[in-house]
């Protein structure tokens, strides 16, 4: 497994990422507010690791992943990939950088053009970014199909002729076509049934070893994230509330939200039935109108008075463990200031 010790090179550096979607209302389509899908998120992804990004539906996981790839024009913040700042790059300028960063999508059916053959779909990145001729392209497509375990005979078929798991392999092959360094996996297993989930996750792990890939693995399946991720970030209402190495996060969660989230994971052993399930009351507040202070203060079981007033900073409270919670205000690693978080 990946070693999170300090020698690892940072591949992706996200600082203060904000992605707001404006809300227009009224006759004159006035700008009345923003949906704060991603609100001031900072973290690093080291080369060769898998960073799991978990959270409940609608907390901004997918938006965060897409914003990092600059599929959206972000509201604020900086994204550095491989030492290059892309936060403010134009879409035309990003085109040259696309080969280093790719994406695997959630819905394998919707993410493949129904009117293109497999060869066309997997070959599209090659067509856009390389000057291979038809035969070279076909050879590369076959290579990729081998890599993801698809039979070469299928290269002239259309996506609707495949099962869900096979379609997801097509999506993975397309993402791999240009030898990327970094792949955002946006809930790649959510639409698959359990036996196929395992196949796809194992395939992703094998490919990671084979090609030295770095993943941002977005999921709401906590057990699967525990299996694949090296470090895990937990998101709530547009913010990362906790980020730490996998084992420490799962064994000893710090943030009350993480505790509640982990206590919801079903325990397969009936003798070990966890007695202390934390059941959250109420609903997630609207990201268009988040509460004052800590975003989690409306539902937190351990809420304090300060939580309603002040937004907790996202700080490193133990080596390699970041959390945004007032409960850990007195803990601090070597007087680091808040704005150096994540490094």
């Amino acid at each position: 497994m990946f070693d999170v010790s300090q020698g690892a090179k940072t591949l992706i550096e996200v600082r203060g990422l904000k992605m707001y979607f404006p809300i227009y209302a009224g006759v004159f389509r006035r700008h009345v507010g923003d949906v704060k899908a991603v609100d001031d998120v900072s973290f690093d992804i080291y080369e060769g690791e898998t960073l799991g990004l978990v959270g409940e539906s609608g907390c901004g996981k997918s938006t965060c992943g897409r914003a990092i790839l600059r599929l959206y024009d972000i509201t604020a913040g900086s994204i550095t990939i491989n030492g290059r700042e892309i936060g403010k790059e134009s879409q035309a300028g990003l085109r040259k950088l696309r080969p280093t960063m790719q994406m695997v999508f959630q819905d394998p059916q919707a993410s493949l053009n129904p009117r293109m053959t497999l060869e066309g779909i997997i070959g599209e990145p090659l067509l856009e970014h390389t000057d291979m001729d038809r035969t070279q392209r076909r050879a590369r497509v076959h290579e990729l199909m081998d890599a993801v375990g698809l039979n070469r005979r299928f290269s002239n078929r259309y996506p609707h002729e495949f099962s869900g798991g096979q379609r997801q392999r097509i999506g993975i092959a397309r993402a791999l076509a240009l030898n990327p360094k970094f792949i955002v996996c946006d809930e790649p297993i959510a639409a698959l049934d359990v036996s196929i989930q395992a196949q796809v996750v194992n395939l992703l792990e094998d490919l990671q070893k084979q090609f030295g890939l770095t993943y941002l693995f977005i999921s709401h399946d906590l057990s699967m994230v525990r299996h694949i991720a090296d470090r895990v970030a937990v998101m709530y209402l547009g913010k990362v509330v906790e980020l730490s190495a996998r084992e420490s996060l799962y064994n000893e969660p710090l943030h009350p939200y993480t505790k509640a989230l982990l206590s919801a994971v079903p325990e397969p052993d009936p003798d070990l039935e966890a007695a202390e399930r934390v059941i959250l009351q109420g609903d997630v507040p609207s990201p268009a109108n988040p509460p004052a202070g800590c975003n989690f203060c409306t539902r937190c079981p351990a809420v304090m008075e300060i939580c309603h007033r002040e937004d907790p900073a996202f700080r490193e409270v133990l080596p390699g463990r970041f959390v945004a919670c007032h409960h850990y205000n007195d803990m601090n690693v070597s007087n680091e200031t808040a704005d150096e978080t994540g490094s």
Binding site: R95, P99, M103, Q106, N113, E128, N151, R153
Partner: protein, 302 residues
């Protein structure tokens, strides 16, 4: 997947061979296509083979019913209706197909632009609304009055009026296509495969050509087939008003409108051109139906 010993690639299927085989399996489309080709051949080569000129006046044989010499009968001036239907079909079909092509091109172009580029959506759709709200007949009158003589002088009387009629029909019938296409593009644009293409870095124009256009083929096909019918009928309306082709120049629409006065005397004069229009439109509809199915890989092979 299970058969791993088989490493030879499935025989590369040519897409057009697939399309053709699916098209052939659509019975209505095959009948429609044969009939359409038959009509086309008839109107192209018919006037060369049929001995009677469409404008030859034999006043003694006026208002006759069907006979061996005149299978479709004759009109009030003794002109042979069969020869006129053949000659008129040339113009009507040509006008129908060309005007439909122009309307389709305009409609698709505007629809795709409006649907894909958010910035253009509102101005282009208001333009479409404007065209829909324009009273077409006065507009036609004005356009034809303004440009008829210029075009006649430039291209000769028949070509000039042909270009004018095609242009006028084309620019007054693209709006429905544009609206349908825009709606489809709007929903397609949010599909994940478009996002996937964007994450690859596909630029907008190739995105439209590769991902958007092939997926809006079905509504385009449908409006194309309906468009031919509308174009033929609009042309007859223009001719009926005396604004289209000259009065001695037969088209299906003109034959139809000329015959309405004589409907009680010999009704078959209305029936023949009417039948020609209806059957052509019907066959084109079936062709469009078959093409739409054949171009969709999800339906193909079922």
């Amino acid at each position: 997947m299970t058969d791993t010993s088989e490493i030879t690639e499935e025989k590369a299927r040519s897409q057009w061979a697939d399309v053709w085989s699916q098209f052939r399996s659509h019975r209505g489309a095959m009948i429609g296509a044969s009939f359409f080709i038959f009509i086309c051949l008839l109107v192209i080569f018919g006037p060369m083979l049929w001995p009677i000129e469409p404008n030859f006046i034999d006043i003694r044989a006026k208002n006759q019913g069907p006979s061996l010499a005149h299978p479709f009968g004759t009109d009030q001036l003794g002109r042979d209706t069969f020869a006129q239907v053949l000659a008129g079909g040339r113009v009507s079909l040509l006008v129908g197909v060309t005007a439909m092509g122009l309307a389709l091109f305009l409609g698709t172009f505007i629809g795709v632009l409006a649907g894909y580029f958010k910035r253009l959506d509102s101005p282009l759709m208001r333009l479409t609304d404007l065209f829909l709200a324009l009273p077409i007949l006065p507009l036609l009158l004005v356009i034809i009055m303004l440009f008829r003589d210029t075009l006649r002088a430039a291209f000769g009387p028949e070509t000039g009026i042909f270009l004018l009629v095609v242009f006028v029909i084309g620019i007054t019938s693209w709006m429905h296509t544009a609206r349908i296409v825009r709606g489809d593009v709007l929903s397609l644009k949010e599909q994940e495969f478009v996002l996937a293409a964007r994450s690859i870095g596909t630029p907008s124009h190739r995105m439209i050509l590769r991902h958007i256009l092939p997926n809006v083929m079905s509504p385009i096909m449908v409006s194309a087939t309906l468009g031919i019918a509308t174009a033929i009928i609009t042309e007859s309306a223009i001719s009926f008003l005396g604004l289209g082709f000259p009065s001695d120049f037969p088209t299906w629409g003109r034959l139809l409108s000329d015959s309405t006065n004589f409907m009680t005397l010999n009704p078959e004069r209305v029936i023949w051109p009417g039948l020609a229009i209806s059957l052509t439109v019907l066959s084109v509809n079936y062709i469009g139906d078959g093409l739409r199915d054949a171009l969709d890989p999800r339906i193909r092979g079922r």
